[in-house]
């Protein structure tokens, strides 16, 4: 063995070593005199930024010392989260400084999925991608390239680049988030996200003209249906707000959910509904309210008929709704929407349904809020979403203090011309069936002019099918045109795991043609973490983490609030910011001769991230001076507001009477930095109405909401416009065919969900063999992306993410007092039951029948003969006949997941059990919550 004496023996060999060294310094350089002082004594630098550990994007205050991020707190100046910060946000350091993060570009060696990569330089990686994209564009057209900007925001640079490149097929996570849930608010209000009026503080104009931070809660009833804000944290203020309203204002909280979520646990009432029947509940409530409303009774004045002044199409809607009352449902032999029918369908007692309907009708102000899991993940979720919106509007709760606010139409605008959407208007020519056709690039969109003419949020769930079969356009100028998909650029999403069933994705991505080449020649991942989608890519580009780049928050507040995601630390390792990646790739494409990429649209224009963000800030806030109290009494009512809060406040504006705009000084990065990173504009309610002094009443202001008519639409003009496009095309879409529709409906409609033996006759035959409905929900992790963070593996959640691990070994620091810092890296043995793993939550009755106790291993199988293994967690907190898993918690097959990767063989991957062919008929959303399973003990 070697020792120092023998080392000295090699001194002869030292000369040989000399030839193998490299002269001079490589990583080090002499320090300048002026640098020396500042490097030695660095105080703490405080920066204000926006989180990205989950899409809530809370305002954060980050402490930096010696160029290192050391502490994370909530930013008190941001009303959205008011200084709070959840466990995910607080654990950001373990992501930013993870030794497992992607550090440099990598190029695949071996087959896709083997996980073999070699380190490459940026030049090499960009060259590889640029050359392939150029070739694909020449041979198949730019539209054959998909840009999927994935899971979290800061996507604008990528969208801009690929729009300019010439493809309209540019996506983001929303497609597989919860599109059916957004449907009702979109059709009827032009928005997408109804939330209770719970954001406090709100900035309110006082009668004396001053602005005050109002902390008072006005809610008296909140009903959450299929929504778990305390764990999903997507709307941060619902955590503190829900309970503050309860404690401070006596607000009653009702949670309707098959499982006892943390939100349900703190509610006044938990109604464990049968999965997939929220539409039934809402329909029953609406019928009860319509039949029992009595404007002359104080107790039963359910409906505020004033809503008719601010809406149109109610009579048609009511007729369509009532037309079902006389029909008999074949599943139950009861008339649709009667309380008896609702009771049988939902599994909630008739008395409770009546009580709930009466409560919602008679308590004001109130909000009925439905969430991602339901109806967002159900085949027929649209129905529930439309009914939910209706119920809020007719009871007079829409946009009132303490009521229901559509936060999509109250948030600040951002993006402007930086998003590159105008590139889609460029005209191109294609040959369709021998004829040359001209049209705008956007008319080549694979979904809205292909199989999904209604899907305004795009469709990712059917990518595997399109990778294999190619796109066939059916509508618009280019109808009849076909093109293949030849490149898939995935940025910070993880569609291989989450975009429906992984096996479908893997099959499509690894499929080869007869000459042995991949049918999809190019797959690129741009990310900070090494997730499952990266394992299958050809090139991996390291993107700077959220603390290392600059952009803007994307949040759902009750009034315009916008804050800066400031770059807190320099990009680590060789990672680059989205702006740099955009410019690098743009320059490469330009150098390779792409005429659609111009220097002045990219690196010539955006020399820094700040340039890009400043352009994105130009339209802010872009909301209207409407409602009571009027946000800016000194500015014209109904005009669009643009500019910083202080310039609007001081009247430093130009009024454009033609465009009806009040333009102040544009918000800039510099302005935000001077104001703790955040711009806050005033709140108002009743934003749909204005005062008519002559008649002494309120009338519709025709500015808000954001529908075509600027009124609440019970008759759906969006559908009317889309139907025109469809009727001029090559037949109705497959989704509409599934429903037996020749046209899109003009108003209320009803249809059943998939994989539900209790409500859809098609599935009755499975009821006996597959007795459990499977649902899925969030845990204290951000979906699939953060599961490698050790701290978060210590946050058990609701029976679906529990410390039930098998003993395993993983590298970690362990105590060794002999070492200076007291630690050494070694393989640590994790004892059983100390690390959270995905588990299956099951009711104790069901467990007893199967002879199961908590910790037992089970096998879960669906009618498609797909199965996963899991440990079971037995509890009283779920409806019998229902079982639940957590998103992204199990079966994780990328080594980048650290300790969680070691648990893959006995933890359930929910997506393995999803039916990849069940896509909701209008928006193409994978139906994550529509599934039934059988379970056996292992």
């Amino acid at each position: 063995m070697m020792n120092r004496r023998s080392f000295l023996k090699w001194t002869g060999a030292g000369a040989a070593a000399a030839t193998l060294g490299t002269a001079g310094l490589f990583q080090l350089r002499p320090v300048n005199a002026d640098e020396l002082e500042s490097l030695k004594n660095q105080g703490i630098d405080i920066k204000y930024t926006a989180d990205v550990m989950c899409p809530s994007e809370c305002g954060l205050e980050m402490w930096v010392k010696d160029g290192r991020l050391t502490k994370i707190y909530g930013n008190k100046a941001v009303p959205f989260n008011d200084g709070t910060c959840c466990a995910k946000g607080a654990s950001g350091i373990q992501l930013v400084y993870s030794p497992d993060r992607i550090k440099y570009p990598m190029i695949r060696e071996g087959e896709r999925g083997e996980g073999k990569f070699r380190k490459a330089t940026w030049d090499e990686a960009i060259d590889y991608i640029g050359k392939k994209l150029t070739k694909i564009k020449k041979e198949h057209g730019a539209e054959s390239v998909i840009m999927d900007a994935g899971d979290v925001t800061d996507r604008d640079q990528y969208w801009r680049l690929f729009f300019a490149f010439g493809t309209p097929n540019v996506f983001e996570h929303g497609s597989i988030c919860d599109t059916p849930r957004r449907h009702g608010p979109k059709l009827m209000l032009g928005g997408k996200r109804i939330e209770p009026d719970l954001m406090r503080p709100v900035l309110v104009r006082q009668p004396d003209g001053s602005l005050k931070k109002d902390m008072t809660y006005k809610n008296k009833l909140i009903i959450y249906v299929g929504w778990n804000p305390f764990v999903a944290t997507r709307i941060n203020y619902e955590s503190r707000g829900t309970l503050a309203a309860k404690v401070d204002n006596g607000c009653k909280i009702v949670v309707v959910d098959p499982s006892l979520t943390n939100t349900a646990s703190q509610a006044d009432l938990w109604l464990p509904i049968r999965p997939g029947t929220d539409g039934e509940l809402f329909a029953g409530m609406l019928r009860y309210i319509l039949e029992n409303d009595n404007p002359n009774s104080l107790d039963r004045r359910y409906i505020d008929w004033g809503f008719k002044k601010y809406s149109e199409g109610w009579d048609e809607y009511l007729d369509a709704f009532k037309s079902w009352w006389t029909k008999t449902d074949p599943m139950t032999n009861l008339p649709y929407f009667s309380v008896e029918w609702t009771a049988v369908r939902t599994g909630i007692s008739k008395e409770q349904i009546i009580e709930l309907s009466h409560m919602f009708g008679s308590t004001k102000p109130a909000a009925l809020v439905c969430g991602m899991q339901s109806p967002g993940h159900h085949y027929n979720g649209y129905v529930a979403s439309i009914l939910m919106t209706t119920l809020n509007v007719i009871t007079g709760n829409f946009d009132v203090p303490g009521g229901a606010i559509d936060t999509e139409i109250t948030k600040s605008d951002k993006g402007g011309s930086a998003t590159g959407k105008d590139f889609k208007k460029k005209k191109v020519k294609r040959t369709v069936n021998g004829t040359e056709v001209e049209g705008e690039i956007e008319k080549l969109h694979m979904d809205s002019y292909g199989d999904w003419p209604v899907a305004w949020d795009d469709v990712i769930g059917d990518f595997p099918k399109l990778f294999k079969e190619g796109v066939s356009l059916k509508y618009g100028n280019f109808k009849g045109y076909k093109y293949p998909i030849k490149a898939y650029i995935q940025r910070t999403g993880n569609a291989v795991l989450t975009g429906s069933a992984p096996y479908r994705w893997i099959e499509a991505i690894t499929a080869k043609d007869s000459s042995g080449e991949y049918k999809l020649p190019l797959m690129v991942t741009v990310d900070t973490l090494y997730l499952e989608s990266a394992v299958y890519s050809d090139v991996i580009l390291p993107e700077a983490s959220y603390a290392e780049r600059m952009s803007l928050s994307d949040i759902y507040p009750s009034h315009p609030v916008l804050y800066l995601r400031d770059q807190v630390i320099k990009p680590l390792h060789e990672s680059k910011t989205p702006t740099d990646i955009m410019n690098l790739l743009a320059k490469k494409l330009y150098d390779l001769g792409d005429k659609d990429i111009q220097p002045n649209d990219f690196w010539g224009k955006y020399k820094s991230q700040e340039d890009f963000v400043n352009e994105m800030l130009k339209p802010a806030p872009g909301r209207y001076n409407v409602g009571q109290p009027l946000p800016y009494p000194k500015l014209p009512e109904g005009y669009k507001l643009i500019g910083t809060p202080d310039s609007l406040e001081s009247g430093q504006v130009t009024i454009d009477n033609e465009k009806k705009e009040a333009k102040g000084v544009p918000v800039t990065v510099e302005w935000l930095r001077k104001n703790k990173g955040v711009a806050v504009w005033p709140m108002s309610w009743y934003r749909y109405r204005k005062s008519d002094a002559t008649n002494g009443e309120y009338v519709a202001n025709k500015v808000f909401p954001n529908t075509k008519s600027k009124l609440v639409e019970f008759k759906f003009s969006m559908y009317a416009d889309l139907d025109k496009k469809i009727q001029e095309g090559l037949g109705v879409s497959s989704g509409m065919k599934e429903l037996g529709w020749e046209h899109l409906p003009s108003t209320f409609y009803w249809f059943e969900t998939n994989w539900n033996p209790n409500t859809n006759p098609k599935y009755k035959k499975y009821a006996n063999e597959y007795p459990f409905q499977l649902i899925v929900g969030r845990v204290h992790q951000a979906m699939s992306g953060t599961q490698m963070i050790p701290w978060l593996a210590q946050t058990p959640c609701e029976g679906i993410y529990m410390p039930l691990n098998n003993a395993f070994e993983h590298e970690i620091l362990d105590a060794n007092p002999a070492k200076k810092e007291g630690f050494e890296l070694k393989v640590k043995k994790f004892k059983a039951n100390t690390w959270c793993v995905g588990t299956l939550l099951m009711h104790s009755q069901d467990a007893a029948k199967l002879g199961l106790k908590t910790g037992d291993m089970i096998e879960i199988e669906n009618p498609l003969k797909r199965s996963v293994k899991s440990k079971v967690f037995v509890s009283e907190g779920i409806r019998p006949g229902v079982v639940k898993m957590g998103f992204g918690t199990g079966g994780r097959f990328s080594p980048g997941l650290g300790g969680t990767y070691k648990q893959k063989d006995y933890t359930p991957s929910h997506n393995m059990l999803v039916d990849p062919d069940s896509l909701s008929p209008l928006m193409g959303m994978p139906t994550y919550a529509d599934m039934i399973v059988k379970i056996k003990k292992l």
């Binding site: 502490k71 910060c85 943390n262």
Partner: protein
């Protein structure tokens, strides 16, 4: 203007706790707590039969008792109470005997694997001395933790306690905790909230 010395305390309003465990993780972030240790945590127990089920969240930490058993039992006087009522451990004096860990009726202490000394919540004394609040209080998602000077009748915490009925854990032991609970139904907790 209070001229007496300070007495720091905390109120945990369990009516506002959402069970997110940000307190647990924010504390780890702030104080570099090792993987197997916890200075703050949340006890969660499921109670009731379907459908009348509740999951109780009881956030816990060191109670910074006025009459702290951990201080009396320490053989080398490493555990002490500072001028503002915060119970601290001088980790240079601590010999890691573990008596205080066993003796604490709230399981608030643990043996730091690396340093081999007793460790526990310090009310983020390093932040408090500069006028900031503990990390768990700042970050709490439910705004369920209120911290401040109990000797100042006008402080937020004093006013909060006046308005709401509070309880402490294991009041029978005479430890006189400075951590108070609202609506934790302590009499129904196993062993009245002790270990």
């Amino acid at each position: 203007m209070p001229t007496e010395k300070k007495r720091y305390g905390m109120v945990i309003d369990t009516r506002k706790c959402v069970g997110c465990m940000s307190c647990t993780i924010s504390c780890k972030m702030e104080n570099g707590v090792p993987f197997d240790g916890f200075r703050a945590w949340v006890d969660m127990t499921e109670r009731g039969d379907f459908p009348r089920v509740k999951r109780n969240f009881i956030p816990k930490l060191c109670n910074h008792c006025e009459n702290a058993p951990c201080v009396t039992v320490c053989p080398v006087k490493a555990s002490y109470v500072d001028n503002d009522g915060i119970v601290l451990v001088d980790q240079k004096r601590c010999i890691g005997c573990g008596y205080c860990i066993v003796d604490c009726p709230y399981s608030a202490r643990y043996l730091h694997e690396g340093l081999k000394v007793a460790d526990k919540c310090t009310f983020c004394v390093h932040r408090v001395k500069t006028g900031l609040e503990p990390a768990c209080v700042h970050n709490c998602m439910g705004k369920a933790r209120i911290f401040g000077d109990l000797n100042d009748p006008l402080s937020e915490i004093s006013q909060y306690m006046t308005k709401n009925g509070v309880q402490t854990l294991r009041p029978d032991l005479g430890t006189n905790p400075n951590v108070f609970y609202i609506d934790a139904d302590i009499n129904k907790l196993p062993n009245k909230g002790g270990k």
